[in-house]
Subunit: 233 residues, 2 copies
DNA sequence: CCGACTTCAAAGGTACTACTTTTCGCGCGT
DNA sequence: ACGCGCGAAAAGTAGTACCTTTGAAGTCGG
């Protein structure tokens, strides 16, 4: 355990154990225990605990120890926590939650992008839409190239919104798209309408037509939505 | 600086200085420097740096020091960062970004809440809507009671969505509503339609009518939207 | 027998020191 | 001018000693 920082290793170990429920709410740890478990020094153990504390995953009290907190107090948006969830038994739930968030956020991002995107971004957006149409039309909707372009398109849309929070959703959205792809849920020939929707969003943004961009994006999200809600309660 | 943990103090100090730009992107710190600046021990300084590192605000490299990272790599959703922004010169921008996010998220939350809220939540939602109508109708739209009920309403709506990410937006939404209130932007008599919208959302959720809930919430968000976009570029 | 008060020890919080590892940057030699 | 290696700077890790808080057991008095 000398290649990467010990700190990262210990943090990851604890984070995963808490995120996947092996350390359930209310479980109590001690620094000494962590030192021993992870074969790390006090320094390293403390730093890992501090980080988990800022994520709301544990609370540390004198004389008591380090207590695992209820999920409701965890920082649901922390990239780290999302990764831990994606690596554990809650992977599916996490992907669904992120997918729902995406459906909500992208139309707003499109709206804002139409008002704020610079010309370079507009051009790039149209280029990516073109590429999607090209690849999709040739039955390569399940290829890595298509996925890459799809991720880039939605990433750029969020970025162009000029809203830091929306921009920060780019990483989760990538996870959603890649997750869907890895399960073989993307057909070689994209679902009817998908390609046109991307294109219409790109054009609306380039035209600075916020309402149209939002409408088209929402339409696209509706197309995507069906697949998610199939398995829903 | 003994009342609260030293750690929190140092973290807050550094976090604020970075968030408000006093330590701009590319600035380089050293642990020794931090120890001296904040009059803290190495231990405390290290822990604070670790936390900032997990927030993406700094990166620490051997032989180089601790470098402030570009804003784009910061964890925009971290409650801590949001607080630091709200306390600094970017308060307004932060509130606007959160308001945009809220406009995007609430209709989805309403949709999901209609499908997932339990009966207790439905009842409470209607009770809060009733209270808003009561207070608003009596010209108390700018009272603390109204604000409290308003926050509780939207908080509950997000919580009832059953989506951890949407639920986590409750805190920012509170900040948005309180921020608006503190600036005296809330009139004694709520804007035409506001009260009915709350009520319609509550009823739709209670009826389990997801589409109606989403539609009504979106309508409400449109009402709210006008005020935000006034000052926008 | 019960309640309040005292004492004690467990656990985290802080400080300090010593040592290790990485890596930047300079200078030397080719 | 180019590359190679040496040295120092700074973070990383370890370990120890001591402080502070606080839950809980035990004790005393009513």
């Amino acid at each position: 355990m000398t290649s990467t920082d010990m700190h990262a290793g210990v943090l990851d170990d604890l984070g995963r154990r808490i995120a996947d429920g092996r350390l359930p709410e209310g479980a109590v740890l001690t620094l000494s225990g962590i030192e021993k478990d992870c074969e790390a020094s006090r320094t390293v153990a403390r730093e890992a605990v501090r980080v988990l504390e800022t994520l709301g995953m544990v609370a540390s009290r004198r004389r008591v120890g380090i207590t695992v907190q209820p999920r409701s107090s965890w920082d649901a948006f922390s990239p780290r926590l999302i990764d831990w969830n994606l690596a554990g038994p809650f992977r599916q739930r996490q992907l669904e939650a992120l997918a729902e968030l995406r459906v909500a956020a992208e139309p707003m991002a499109a709206h804002l992008a139409a008002r704020r995107a610079d010309s370079r971004q507009c051009a790039e957006l149209r280029r990516l839409a073109d590429r999607l149409v090209d690849l999709g039309g040739r039955g390569l909707g399940d290829s890595d190239d298509y996925l890459e372009a799809d991720v880039a398109f939605h990433d750029l849309l969020l970025t162009a919104s000029g809203n830091p929070q929306l921009t920060a959703l780019a990483r989760p959205v990538r996870a959603v798209l890649e997750g869907r792809n890895r399960l073989g849920l993307t057909p070689p020939l994209p679902v009817e309408g998908t390609l046109e929707e991307h294109m219409r969003v790109a054009i609306a943004v380039a035209d600075g037509d916020a309402e149209a961009a939002e409408r088209c994006s929402r339409s696209h999200m509706r197309t995507v939505w069906g697949e998610v809600s199939r398995t829903d309660g």
